[in-house]
């Protein structure tokens, strides 16, 4: 039961939308702790008004997204023992979104984008309780529904992180997996998800550099399993003359 205590050095960004700076603090750490524990101890003992967003502290709700030593991470899943002895740990808010205060950012961009993705549309004549789907047909979409909406993928994506002006026309990885989830849903009948992915949600802006996949705490293979398959599906309906011709003849959008 003996917990080994030691002091650790943190640099925490404090400030608001107008100004801010990194502040150094030293605080106690115990064995087995994560960065969020340390931040809580700073709150309880040194900066009672330090703003940080968190809920479950178990990697399930995706609230405590921040950047730790420059990398987008969940503070509750970042263990202290991954840092070198004596290393100063830098903690900042997400850098792709407007800052509110300290470690809290305004992530409303994501909720706006969620509103732009057309909802699931089942066949109108199918009643509740009559849905029949095979496990192999739901598994691809299930992977994307593991998303905890931590928005780390959105934060790391250079398309919007490095280009504020692209936020208008780019939905971001989180919503590409949502679109892929629906396009691969065995009972979704809404047409044109592929076209709108390209034309409205900015799928073509993605240059598949895979940072979204690298930071995903749920280990969703965003690029390989959602974005690239969607890009290929877009080619089917937009850039492949043979498939285009085929769809004109058979008068169906995708394939069953």
């Amino acid at each position: 039961m003996s917990a080994i205590k030691k002091m650790v050095k943190l640099r925490i960004w404090r400030g608001d939308s107008k100004d801010g700076a990194l502040q150094d603090v030293e605080v106690e750490a115990n064995e087995g702790e994560v960065v969020l524990d340390i931040i809580h101890r700073v709150q309880a003992t040194q900066m009672s008004d330090l703003a940080v967003r968190w809920n479950c502290k178990a990697g399930k709700c995706g609230s405590c997204s921040m950047e730790i030593n420059g990398k987008p991470r969940l503070a509750c899943m970042t263990r202290m023992n991954m840092f070198e002895e004596g290393e100063t740990i830098t903690v900042t808010p997400l850098r792709a979104f407007p800052v509110i205060r300290d470690l809290v950012t305004d992530v409303s961009f994501n909720f706006k984008k969620a509103m732009e993705v057309p909802a699931f549309e089942p066949p109108a004549d199918l009643k509740p309780g009559e849905f029949r789907m095979q496990q192999v047909d739901v598994e691809r979409s299930q992977e994307f529904r593991k998303c905890i909406e931590c928005f780390l993928c959105q934060d790391t994506c250079h398309v919007i992180r490095d280009h504020e002006e692209n936020k208008k026309s780019f939905a971001g990885p989180r919503f590409f997996i949502r679109i892929a989830e629906l396009d691969m849903h065995p009972l979704d009948i809404l047409k044109n998800r592929k076209q709108t992915a390209q034309e409205k949600h900015g799928l073509g802006m993605c240059n598949i550099t895979k940072c979204c996949t690298e930071v995903c705490p749920e280990h969703i293979r965003i690029t390989d399993n959602a974005i690239i398959p969607m890009k290929e599906r877009v080619v089917d309906v937009k850039y492949d003359p043979l498939r285009w011709l085929g769809s004109k003849i058979s008068k169906r959008e995708g394939i069953v």
């Binding site: 087995g32 994560v34 809920n55 479950c56 178990a58 995706g62 909802a119």
Partner: protein
């Protein structure tokens, strides 16, 4: 007061977990304008933490299942203290609520015929839990969230404004439910982002704020579980029922300390995990209570056979209801047969192949791998009881979820009481959210149509605003974090899993002292996103709820479900006839007893009289059977 932001709605739903969102959907579909208040961001509610599944007797895996079996299991699990009508509605309606989720895009795991797959869980006679791996709560919250978005998209098409009928107010904390002339008139709160105060005027308020776990030290609840709704209702003149029944989930993580209390899903046991003590003994065989003797295997061979042949074998005792397992683990640890960090061992690695474990329990595998450096496909987990759920809550009308004594107030989900009796079965919480969330939304809709709009007086707003600002304006220098830590320690030590009269009386003394200190809790810094300020306000709620728990626990002189008295270790049929009711008169908390409504004949007849004899007094049996004949 000129700077108070004002909104008018038909219904204000406080809480954006499963129950709140389901209520909002129902109220919107009834044509009303709804405000959804989230304490955190939209989609982060504690519902995401539910792992195992939603119980619903769809009979997809075992066609013998039906609502009557589910009803029986629920009553049995709650030791017959449940409100029979709630248990009945819940058992009857949960399949429809689950099927409805599918039409909104939920993707449950499937059976070979393509139906929703169902898994075994403690206390459920048949495989009954619809699930998605071990992240069912996430699926539920995301589906509800996306349903809200779908309705907003429709409003955008029909009315030109996505937020014309449903608006989500994220990161807004409600500090008060406002009443005028004895009826609900609205709610008051503030934006966490900037500290600005907000007034909602609405004739109906649905409270769906979840639990109280953050009053305890070792808990599976997030920071949000501070009993806000319980306290709001008490302060609005409502009543809390059966607050002494707090469920300690038997399997929380015990190591490392930073994650102590974090939930280890019951599915681990449902899928074959076994509990052993430091001697390597499967100790649960020694803890099968008399009332369950005929339902559970008394030897390992039969228990093991059950996983493959449930028709001809009794289930292993690891799958006893949660209260039994939690007490058993507690006893083993106290007897010195615990694991190195004060728990017991839960092992699935010797029971299932590694790839099956990773497939069936993916988030458990990650949780242990990433937080404890333990690979559960190779070694056992260390687990111990953790405060998980409060069975008690707002006393409501079973059909409409209208809070007793407060017209216009409704409550659903964990914050409501009665449905689960003295102990909740795993899987019954997600279905509870859906069934009663929907009913609360419908109840509120009917009420609003009968009562029309409401308005709040300036004096009420002024008073609410003053109370809200107290942590900044009051004299005193208490650190809210310190007071909170001491509160958690007190409840943990004195109102925890095993209770005695002496300890409960001591707890009440300590709580009174803490209340004085909490009234001096001072917020430092500004109003913007200030967690210290927020905690200073939450403290009041937690203290109120903790006192209700302690008083109700002191009153109930028996052991039943989530309430264990060391000085009254037996279940007492006389105590089954009463609920405890907790009220607040503005200065003190009072607990009294109230007679439990008795089951109608057709439900009574669903049970074997020999079973009921274990719970009911001979007089009750005679009266009921007399009625039956």
């Amino acid at each position: 007061m000129t700077n108070v932001e004002k909104h008018e709605y038909d219904v204000v739903v406080i809480g954006a977990g499963g129950a709140g969102l389901r209520a909002a959907v129902e109220a919107r579909e009834a044509g009303l304008r709804v405000a959804i208040i989230c304490k955190s961001l939209f989609g982060k509610a504690h519902t995401v933490m539910a792992e195992g599944g939603v119980s619903a007797s769809m009979g997809n895996v075992n066609s013998d299942d039906n609502w009557m079996v589910h009803f029986r299991d629920t009553m049995r699990g709650g030791k017959f203290l449940n409100h029979w009508r709630m248990a009945e509605l819940h058992a009857k309606e949960s399949p429809d609520r689950v099927w409805e989720l599918e039409t909104w895009g939920a993707l449950f795991d499937r059976t070979p015929e393509g139906k929703i797959s169902q898994r075994n869980f403690g206390g459920h006679e048949y495989p009954r839990l619809a699930h998605v791996g071990d992240r069912t709560g996430l699926e539920l919250i995301r589906t509800m969230q996306q349903r809200i978005v779908a309705l907003q998209q429709k409003d955008a098409r029909d009315h030109g404004d996505a937020e014309s009928h449903i608006k989500v107010f994220a990161e807004l904390t409600i500090t008060e439910i406002l009443k005028e002339n004895g009826k609900v008139a609205g709610a008051y709160g503030y934006w966490r982002e900037n500290g600005n105060e907000v007034l909602f005027q609405a004739p109906a308020v649905v409270v769906a704020t979840g639990g109280i776990g953050k009053s305890f030290k070792v808990t599976s609840n997030s920071w949000e579980g501070t009993g806000d709704g319980h306290a709001l209702v008490l302060k609005a003149g409502g009543r809390l029922k059966d607050m002494e029944f707090v469920q300690f989930h038997p399997t929380g993580m015990v190591w490392p300390p930073s994650v102590r209390g974090l939930l280890v899903t019951e599915s681990v046991r449902g899928d074959g995990g076994v509990l052993t003590n430091s001697d390597g003994i499967r100790f649960m065989f020694n803890y099968i209570p008399e009332v369950f003797k005929d339902k559970y295997a008394d030897n390992e061979a039969e228990g093991d056979r059950w996983y493959n042949d449930q028709a001809n074998n009794r289930r292993p005792p690891e799958l006893l209801p949660r209260d039994e397992v939690a007490r058993a683990i507690n006893s083993e640890v106290k007897a010195g047969r615990g694991s190195p960090h004060g728990g017991v061992f839960l092992d699935v690695s010797k029971r299932l192949p590694a790839d099956v474990i990773r497939k069936k329990l993916p988030s458990m595998w990650h949780q242990f791998k990433e937080l404890a450096d333990v690979d559960i496909t190779e070694s056992p987990m260390e687990v111990g009881p953790t405060c998980h759920y409060v069975m008690g809550g707002v006393e409501v009308d079973p059909d409409t979820e209208a809070a007793v004594e407060v017209p216009g107030l409704f409550a659903a989900g964990e914050v409501a009481g009665g449905m689960h009796g003295s102990n909740r079965l795993g899987g019954n919480s997600l279905s509870d959210l859906l069934v009663f969330g929907r009913r609360a939304g419908a109840g509120a809709a009917v009420y609003v149509k009968q009562n029309g709009a409401a308005s709040v007086s300036d004096s009420s707003v002024k008073a609410a605003s003053d109370r809200l600002n107290a942590p900044f304006t009051r004299a005193g220098d208490e650190n809210p974090y310190t007071v909170h830590a001491e509160l958690q320690q007190t409840t943990n030590d004195l109102v925890g899993i095993i209770r005695t009269r002496v300890e409960l009386e001591e707890a009440l003394v300590k709580l009174a002292a803490l209340r004085i200190r909490a009234d001096k809790a001072k917020a430092e810094g500004g109003r913007e996103f200030n967690p210290g300020f927020h905690l200073a306000l939450d403290l009041d709620n937690m203290l109120l709820v903790s006192e209700c728990i302690a008083r109700a626990a002191l009153q109930r002189e028996e052991s039943r479900g989530g309430h264990t008295r060391d000085d009254f270790p037996k279940m007492d049929a006389k105590w089954r006839q009463v609920n405890s009711i907790c009220t607040w008169d503005g200065s003190k908390v009072t607990a009294v007893t109230q007679k439990l409504p008795s089951m109608p004949k057709e439900l009574f007849d669903l049970f074997d009289p020999h079973e009921l004899e274990k719970y009911m007094t001979p007089e009750e049996m005679t009266a009921q059977e007399g009625g039956a004949k």
